[in-house]
């Protein structure tokens, strides 16, 4: 885990759920490289069964997963009183998915492939905290 700020602050921590291992690993690495603390899970049930990152304030979840989809996962978290912000990612276009995602309480829907740092910016906004200054580009 890369910690660039030396803090293990739950407010910097992101929970990532995706059933595709390559996506999970690469996005985790990207977020860590930008200074976030990341807890990743291969399925919604794995996250719900874990309490390691219960203090995280940001959830990034894939929509389409085998046993439980991302919208259902957020509904479960809300039921249990989780107050954080959530971003839905999807590789499958559905015309009403964005509407459903917003209604379910997601802050944004991001479509795969994720080929720019839009997600990083969104997470920073969600956490109400700019990502660590990056010398290659102006701080947002």
């Amino acid at each position: 885990m890369i910690r660039t700020d030396g803090k293990d602050d739950a407010s910097h921590c992101v929970q990532l759920v995706d059933d595709d291992e390559a996506v999970r690993r690469s996005v985790s690495l990207l977020l860590r490289a930008h200074g976030f603390c990341v807890c990743d899970f291969g399925s919604a049930t794995e996250l719900l069964g874990s309490d390691t990152c219960s203090g995280c304030h940001c959830l990034i979840t894939d929509y389409s997963m085998p046993s439980m989809d991302g919208i259902t996962l957020l509904a479960r978290l809300r039921q249990s009183g989780w107050p954080g912000t959530a971003i839905l990612i999807t590789g499958r276009y559905q015309h009403d998915l964005e509407k459903r995602a917003l209604e379910a309480g997601f802050s944004a829907l991001v479509e795969k492939p994720l080929t720019d740092e839009k997600l990083v910016g969104l997470i920073a906004q969600c956490l109400d905290r700019p990502p660590l200054p990056d010398r290659s580009r102006p701080a947002s």
């Binding site: 690469s26 996005v27 590789g91 795969k112 720019d116």
Partner: protein, 551 residues
Amino acid sequence: MTNNGRAGQRGLAISAMGILPCRQPMDFKAEDEAMEGPENQRPMAGRVGEPSVDQLLRFIDCLENEAILMLDEAGCITLWSKGAQQIKGWSADEVLGRHWSILHPAEAIAQGRPDHVLEIARTEGHYFGEELRVRKDGAEFLAQVAIHTLRDLDGNIVGYGKVVRDITEWQRAQSALQTQEDHLRSILNTVPDAMVVIDERGIIQSFSATAERLFGYREDEVVGRNVSLLAPSPHHEAHDGYLARYLATGERRIIGIGRVVSGRKRDGSIFPMELAIGEAVKADGHRLFTGFIRDLSTKQDVERRLQDLQDELIHISRVSAVGSMASTLAHELNQPLTAVASYAMAAKALLDADRPDAAAEARQALADGIAEAVRAGQIVRRLRDFVSRGETEREIVGLTKLIEEAAALALAGASLRGVRVETNLDPAVMRVLVDRVQIQQVLLNLIRNAVEAMEGCERRDLLISTAAVSDEEVELAVTDSGVGISDEIAERLFEPFNSTKAQGLGVGLSICRTIVEAHGGRLWAEPGPEGGTVFRFTLTRMDRAEQQDVR
């Protein structure tokens, strides 16, 4: 004319019933005595207001095309008209008083024909017939003969009146006409086009044998009915209008032009046909229209077209399968593309952070990104393989992997809610010799069919299984717990374009069978052990060492 002294028998009496012979001039005032009288007394004048006998005889002599003669009760000739002389060659003097058998050919005489004919006339009162007679010169001719038995007022037979017409020419013309008609009919019955003749009102006048076969009606069922019977809507309703417009305006829209239209058979089925119409004006000024119809839906044509399309269909089927899989593949591509970009961006961020261990981590991230790019490339290649028509490329393939991949593809897009999928693979069967893409296409089709067959069923169990049949052969089976297939559908299951589903996997099944058979295997369907359907097909095994060497 009086050479035999019996000329008085030529006396004629006119009555409302026709010509009656008398032995003496008629005495109209004493009819009961009229049969006897002095010989040679000839009635020169009839009753007032009626023609004289002489006039009647002259009239009879004027009839040149009919031989008119009379016989006495024994069959001897008593009257011989000029027409008789003209037709038969003898003069009256030569034949009067002689037995009428001289008019018959020798063969007829030998058979007793003359007496037999008179016997019929006596019994029936008359005789009509067409038979051979001879002329004086011995030539035979075909005669139309009418004989009436003549009786006196007491009903006694006094002789026979006879009219003979030479119908040789007429018969010849008739026969020539018949031959011509038979010839024409035989031609019309053998031309592949069906023919329907209608009059100006659209009423069917004739209906050829080919038309009977094509439309399923017998000629006697449709003659007299409106031809619109054979046309589907909207032509069915409008046909009378078409005819009326043509007769009124003379504007030709189909007559002499021909076009492709739809026809309606007796069973209601509609078929494409080529229609050409000819027009004929009859002697009375009315018209007849003859429709020449060629069936464009004949089995032969369809089969030939299907044969032409077979290769293309395989291609189309794949393209459409790809169409339905497009979102799945897009999703699959999105994953590695996301990973590639994320690894690359992470590597950049790590290097930018300029920390001691960043370079090693960035290198690892880039290596992982390259691996994901390779994965994306594989997906693209798989798509290309699937779409490309390509020649069969057989290779030895692991059966388990082949089945798992096909099942994953087939089940990816399907609505799987409530479907329990089970595989039961024979561990002895490891390898098969196949075109991987084609056989996966077969499996994909069968699995999707199975899932669709179970839609709406309470129990939805899908079983994919393999079993070794022999060292050379393995049988694959896709079993569903659906409602099964009716016998009627089962019969036609593998025919192209046969499908019970709107989306239609019928083409798929026919292609599946084609693919399996091209691999030297068989594909068939049978009822499942607990309802539902099992599709089974066989493939060539490559499990023995020497088989693998043969590759």
